[in-house]
C-alpha cells in the first residue's frame, strides 16, 4: 500500500508543481495569474487533439503521438496564455477578471471544439479524446531500495520531464539575466523601466512561460488521471497549484513541498478508502482532500506570506 501512495502521490504532485512554477513566473513578474486552470485545460486539449490525430498516422502504439502530444500541449498552453498577456499587459485589463474569463473561455471553447472536431474529423459524436495508456518506467537498482524504492517505480515519463524542466526554470528565475529582470518587474516595475528593461516584454514572456508549463501539466493530468481529454480536466487543479505557490511564498522549492503535501494527501486518502473496502463513490470525497487541506493551511500560513510587491498592478509608463 505505501507503494501506491508514493507512486500516485508523485504522479499527481509533479504536474501540479510544474504548473505552480509557471504561476510563479507570471506572478513574480507582476501579473496575477488565476488562469492556470484554463491554460492547463487548453494545453491538454491541443495535446490530446494532436495525439489522437497522430494515432491515425503512426498507429496508437507508437511513441511519436505520445511525445508530440506534450509538445503541442506546451505550445497550445503558451499560445492561449498570450491572450491573457495581451489583455493584462497590452490592454491593461484587470488581471483577476482576465484570469477568470480565460478559465471560462477555455472550458467553453475546448468543449465546443472537441465535439466539433470529433464530428467532422474523427466521425464520432463524443465529447472526449481517448488517449492510449502512458507507458511507465521503472529505474533498475534504485527501485529495489526499501520504501523509497517506490519513488523510482512505475514512473510516468512526463514526471522526469517535469523534474528537468523545473530545475531549468529554477536556474532561469534565480540565476539568469532574464530571471533577475523578471523578479524586478514584479517588485518595482518603475525601477525596472528606469534601468532600461522593457517591462511589457518581460511580463508577456513570463505569462507565455506560465501557459507552456501549464500545458505540460494539463497533458500530464490527461494521461495520469483519466487517459483521455474531456471537460473533466477542469477539476480545479489549476486553482490548487495557485494555492501551492501561495503557500510556497512564491518560491519554487517551498511550492514543491506544498504540491507534495497535496498529492500525498490525495493518494493516502484513496489508499485508505481502498483499504477499508468502501464503495468507490467515496473516491469523490478523497478528491476533496487537497482542497480541505488548502483551507486548513490558509488558516495557519495565509498571512505570513508576502506576495510580489507589484503583483496585480497595471504598469503604465506614463503614470508617476
Amino acid at each position: 500500500m505505501p507503494d501506491t501512495i508514493i507512486i500516485d502521490g508523485l504522479s499527481f504532485s509533479l504536474p501540479l508543481f510544474v504548473m505552480a512554477v509557471g504561476g510563479i513566473f507570471s506572478e513574480k513578474s507582476g501579473i496575477t495569474n488565476l488562469a492556470l486552470e484554463g491554460f492547463q485545460g487548453f494545453g491538454a486539449f491541443t495535446g490530446a487533439f494532436a495525439a489522437v490525430y497522430l494515432y491515425g498516422v503512426f498507429g496508437a502504439d507508437s511513441v511519436i503521438p505520445y511525445w508530440a502530444s506534450f509538445v503541442f500541449a506546451v505550445i497550445g498552453g503558451g499560445v492561449f496564455a498570450l491572450l491573457h498577456a495581451l489583455l493584462c499587459v497590452r490592454f491593461k485589463a484587470d488581471q483577476v477578471i482576465s484570469g477568470v474569463v480565460m478559465n471560462i473561455l477555455a472550458m467553453a471553447l475546448t468543449s465546443f471544439l472537441t465535439k466539433r472536431i470529433n464530428a467532422s474529423i474523427f466521425g464520432n459524436s463524443g465529447n472526449k479524446f481517448m488517449l492510449s495508456a502512458s507507458s511507465r518506467i521503472t529505474i533498475p537498482g534504485l527501485s529495489e531500495l526499501p520504501v523509497v524504492g517506490a519513488v523510482f517505480r512505475d514512473i510516468y515519463p512526463f514526471e522526469l520531464v517535469i523534474v528537468a524542466v523545473a530545475l531549468v526554470m529554477w536556474l532561469v528565475l534565480y540565476r539568469t539575466v532574464y530571471g533577475m529582470r523578471l523578479r524586478a518587474c514584479g517588485d518595482n516595475p518603475q525601477s525596472a523601466d528606469a534601468a532600461g528593461i522593457n517591462v511589457y516584454a518581460v511580463r508577456t514572456v513570463a505569462v507565455f512561460v506560465s501557459g507552456c508549463l501549464s500545458g505540460l501539466a494539463g497533458m500530464s493530468f490527461a494521461y495520469s488521471v483519466s487517459a483521455q481529454f474531456s471537460p473533466d480536466i477542469y477539476l480545479g487543479y489549476g486553482y490548487l497549484s495557485i494555492a501551492a505557490l501561495i503557500f510556497g511564498n512564491w518560491s519554487i522549492l517551498p511550492a514543491l513541498f506544498a504540491c507534495l503535501v497535496f498529492g500525498f494527501a490525495r493518494s493516502t486518502g484513496a489508499a485508505v478508502i481502498h483499504g477499508l473496502g468502501l464503495p468507490s463513490s467515496y473516491n469523490d470525497l478523497v478528491r476533496t482532500l487537497p482542497y480541505v487541506l488548502t483551507l486548513l493551511l490558509l488558516v495557519f500560513f495565509g498571512r505570513r506570506n508576502r506576495s510580489p510587491r507589484a503583483l496585480g498592478q497595471i504598469y503604465d509608463k506614463g503614470m508617476r
Binding site: 539568469t176 532574464y178 517588485d187 534601468a195
Partner: protein, 510 residues
Amino acid sequence: MAEPIVEFRHITKKFPGIVANDDVSFTVNKGEIFAVLGENGAGKSTLVSALFGMYEPDGGEILVRGKPERITSPRYAGTLGIGMVHQHFRLVSNYTVAENIVLGLEPVRKVCGIPFVDMKKANRDVAALSERYGLKVSPTDVTGDLSVAAMQRVEILKMLYREAEILIFDEPTAVLTPQEIDAFLQTVKTLRDSGKTIILITHKLREIKAVADRCAIMARGKLVSILDVKTASTDEMARLMVGHDISFTTEKAPAKFGEVVLDVDGLTVKNVAGYDAVKGVSFQVHAGEVFAVAGVSGNGQNELADSIAGLAKVSGGTVTLSGHDITNATVREHITAGVAYIPEDRHNVGLVLDFTLRGNFPLRLYDSPKYSRGSIINYREYNEQSARLQEEYDIRSSQGGETIVREMSGGNQQKAIIAREIDMKTPLIIFMQPTRGLDAGAVMNVRKYIIAERDRGAAVLLISLDLDEILDCADTIGVIYSGKMSKIAPASELTAEVIGEYMMGVGKTA
C-alpha cells in the same frame, strides 16, 4: 569658457488646466552644479522629467552636447549619459544593493549560451565603485532594510555604474536628517570635482547656497531668473522664488498659558517590532502653549504622536485630556474628546487619496449630525465646507472640490489636512512633521497656522525633525532621545547647540 552640456530651448509643457512649463530656456554647463529652484508646482520637476525622457515637451527642444535630441524614454536618456534620482526611490526592495545597481546592465557569464548573472563580479564592481566615490554601501545588504540615506547612495551608485555624466536629483534632501544632508552635499561636490554635471532640484535655499554654482529660479512654470549663487543673497533668491519678500521668523505674541490640556504621565509605547519605542515619557501641554518635541528621526516620535492620537496602543502610563483619561481610547473617542492630528504620513494616514478633495474634509466628523442625517450624507454641508476651506486656506487644485486628492501637489495635500484638522477647533492639536517636503512659502504658512492655533487657546503639540521650525514656533521644548525625554525647558532658555547635544544623547541629563 564654459562648455554647454544641456540646453533647454523654449520648453513648453501643458497639462489639463495647467501650463507646467512656459517657454523655459537655459543652459547647463559641463562640470557645474546647477540648481533649479522653485516652489511646489513651479514646474521644475516637469522640466527635468523632460530631460530624463519621462515627458515629451509640447514645444521647444532639448540639446544634449550641442545636438538636438528627442528624449522619448528614460532608457534613451540613459544612453545619452543622463541619470536621475527620483524623489521616491526606484529600488527593488527585496534585491541586494549590488543587484539593484547592476539591474538592466548585469555582468554576464555565459554557460552554454545562456546568460547567467555573474553576481561575484557585480559585488566586486559595486564595492569598487562605492570605494572610488566614497559612497558607503555593502553590496550584499538587502535594499529594503536600508536607511533612506543609504538607499539614496544606492541610487547614486546606480547612475555612476551606468557611467552617467549628467546627474539629476529631484528634491534629494527632503527625506534626510541634517547630518545626512551635510554628507549628501559633500557627495555632490565630490561628484562635480570628478567631472560630473549635476542638476539639483530643490526649494531649500541653504543647500543651494552651500553647493550650487548657478541657479535657475522658476515660478508658475516660467523661468524668473538665472543667478550666480556666489554673488546672490539668500533673500534675493527667496524673493524671486515666491514673488515677494518672506521673513524667515514667524512673528508671534508672547504666549498666554491656560489650564493643563494634555497630561502625559509615564507613557510607554511599543513599536511595530515589539520593543519599547517610548519609555516612560511625562510632560504637560497647557492651553495656549506650543510644546515642541525635538529629536533625531526614529527616537520614538512616531509612536509618541500615534499613541496620543489614539492610533497606537499604549503599553504603560496614562494620557489625560482636560481631566479625562483617554489612554487607549478608540480613535472615535479621541475625536470626540477633542484631539486633532496632522500625521507625518499624509498619503496613508492623512488622506484617502482616491477620494475627492470635498470628500476628504469631513473624514473625521462624517457621522456627526452636521454632515449626515441618519445614514444619508448631507452634501450641501460637504460643499459648503469644501468651498469655505479652499478659500480660507488657499488650497489650489485643478477642479476645486471635485479634484481627486492623489492628483494634487504635496503642498496642497498638506494644506487640506491642516484645514480639516484646524476646522475641528479642538482643545489639542498635534502637528507631526507638518512642513516636511513643503516649499518656503508653504512652510511659513503652516507655521502661522501653528501660532494661530496657539493664540486661539489650543494646546499645540509640535513634533518635528527641523530644529529651525522648533526654535521658531515653540514655547516649551522637549528633547526626545532613545524614547526618553532627556530635557524639557522653556524655549527661551535653550539654544540650538544645547538642544543638538541632547538630541545626540550627549547633553547633561536634566
